[in-house]
């Protein structure tokens, strides 16, 4: 149940960006999977899915780059959040399995604006994003100029990144939208808002921070 008072978790433009990025990513994932899994390959006949892959990659990478000047503070926070790891993260990793298997709520260490699991997902997006970009650009624009061996291994590395991203995307969707614990997470990506109780329970440190600034 949603309480009357809400706290703002994401700005509208962040949400818009999230969904554009998601759409591009899903297109890349689907059109990539069509080339990758032999059982799906016949859908690539004619080449339309490849062109979609190429166009979506421009949105995927171009969108991320455009976001920096549009919302520099949030972009910087994203990178900071992703790269800064501390003791709380270790504690989270230790406590998480029991928690996500329905264990008691109180044992989780308080989290900042994003929790360690979300941090891991951001790291995967950032890390594989760079790998996708470099290997993808070589396969797209440098074929013929690079040796066959370079192309082949770019394809393999692109494929490994794909498997990592695919598996982590499932985890992201599952925890973000389906898991019984993360009840308000998905809604927050639509409205940008969550209830104070949910904020307290799931992002304790962050909730304290914003409560303090509000009271000042």
């Amino acid at each position: 149940m949603m309480e009357a008072r809400t706290v703002e978790r994401f700005k509208k433009r962040t949400i818009l960006f999230h969904w554009i990025h998601t759409a591009a990513f899903l297109l890349l994932l689907i059109t990539g999977a069509i080339l990758f899994f032999p059982g799906l390959g016949s859908a690539a006949a004619g080449g339309a899915t490849r062109i979609i892959h190429h166009i979506a990659s421009v949105v995927f990478i171009g969108g991320a780059i455009l976001y920096i000047p549009l919302n520099p503070k949030r972009a910087l926070q994203f990178v900071k959040d992703t790269l800064k790891w501390g003791k709380d993260d270790i504690d989270w990793l230790k406590a998480a399995p029991d928690y996500y298997f329905g264990g008691p709520e109180g044992k989780m260490p308080p989290q900042g604006h994003i929790n360690t699991g979300q941090k891991m997902w951001q790291a995967v997006i950032l890390g594989t994003g760079v790998v996708f970009l470099v290997t993808g650009a070589i396969m797209w624009f440098a074929r013929g100029s690079v040796s066959a061996g370079v192309f082949q291994w770019c394809m393999i590395i692109h494929g490994i990144a794909f498997i990592a991203a695919l598996a982590m995307l499932f985890v992201h969707i599952y925890l973000g939208a389906l898991h019984p614990r993360m009840s308000e997470s998905f809604r927050s990506m639509l409205s940008g808002k969550i209830s104070p109780t949910y904020a307290k329970h799931h992002y304790g440190k962050w909730y304290e921070e914003i409560s303090e600034t509000e009271n000042k």
Partner: protein, 292 residues
């Protein structure tokens, strides 16, 4: 723990998806290796010493396949294989004398191109050669990057990456109607022989033995390479002189890619199974907790 209808639907949808991803096509590769001695397989045998460089095979291929013609090529600058040139001559000069080798798809038994082609546009014909269905090509160009002989070539839009491959078809419409390939039929010197692979092999082996008496370098290229080629060459020198790799192999990346596809399926399976388990356990425990 009781399975609800909703949970059941979720789980069965996941399982169905997995079955669809299953790379069952992989089994096709290798199957043919065992039957390469099969009597029904067709092949061409190219006797390099008999080629006089008249370019008739080249012209016949263009003519029969409706590809744009050029004037008789210059051996100094022989045309390269391209989507519009499916057969050409590899030329070398030795002591002021030109040597020619007809060059086109080798129609491998263990073909790298078939292994990596995502759409099945490249596949094995039951008569042994590697058939190509143009309307299935996605233009990904993997075949071009994996073929040990650099045969498949693409016409590519450099910006969008849109592309189409084309290569020798082994004159599929002719050979399945008891006609020889166009190039073999055109060759005036008998340098290109067309027939049953087993018979050509026998003939070629006898010839090589004969040649070996005076020339230890004589070699039948394609008898065993890549599981046996369906275009074989009688060579009087080391393959490299004729622009052929000495010991052609499937690129290791092709095998790694196969393994990776299985890893992908496995990862998806493991993650989905994990979710199913997690969902049931977590909800059951949370419900119990609430009741307390």
């Amino acid at each position: 723990m009781k399975l609800e209808r909703r949970d059941f639907l979720k789980i069965s949808a996941g399982a169905t998806g997995l079955v669809l991803l299953h790379p069952s096509n992989l089994q096709r590769v290798g199957e043919d290796a065992e039957t390469s001695a099969d009597q029904s397989k067709l092949a061409m045998l190219v006797d390099v010493s008999k080629c006089v460089g008249c370019w008739w095979c080249y012209a016949a291929c263009k003519q029969y396949n409706g590809l744009p013609q050029t004037i008789t090529p210059d051996p100094e600058e022989p045309p390269e294989l391209s989507p519009e040139t499916w057969t050409t001559l590899f030329t070398t000069r030795k002591d002021d004398k030109w040597q020619f080798r007809k060059q086109a798809c080798m129609h491998c038994t263990d073909a790298a191109c078939v292994k990596v082609c995502p759409t099945g546009a490249l596949s094995y014909n039951e008569l042994g050669f590697v058939q190509y269905e143009r309307n299935k090509c996605s233009g990904c160009g993997y075949c071009s990057e994996y073929c040990p002989f650099e045969v498949p070539q693409l016409q590519t839009n450099k910006i969008s990456g849109d592309a189409l491959m084309d290569k020798c078809t082994f004159c599929i419409d002719r050979v399945t109607n008891d006609q020889p390939t166009a190039c073999a039929e055109a060759c005036p010197t008998g340098a290109i022989k067309f027939g049953k692979r087993s018979e050509l092999l026998e003939e070629a082996n006898a010839r090589v033995e004969e040649l070996r008496k005076t020339n230890p370098d004589a070699y039948l290229y394609g008898a065993n390479e890549l599981g046996g080629l369906h275009v074989m060459y009688l060579l009087e020198e080391s393959p490299e002189v004729q622009g052929l790799p000495n010991d052609p192999q499937l690129p290791p990346a092709a095998t790694v890619h196969d393994v990776l596809q299985w890893v992908g399926v496995g990862a998806v399976g493991a993650v989905l199974a994990g979710f199913g388990l997690n969902y049931l356990v977590a909800r059951a425990r949370m419900v119990k907790e609430e009741k307390k």
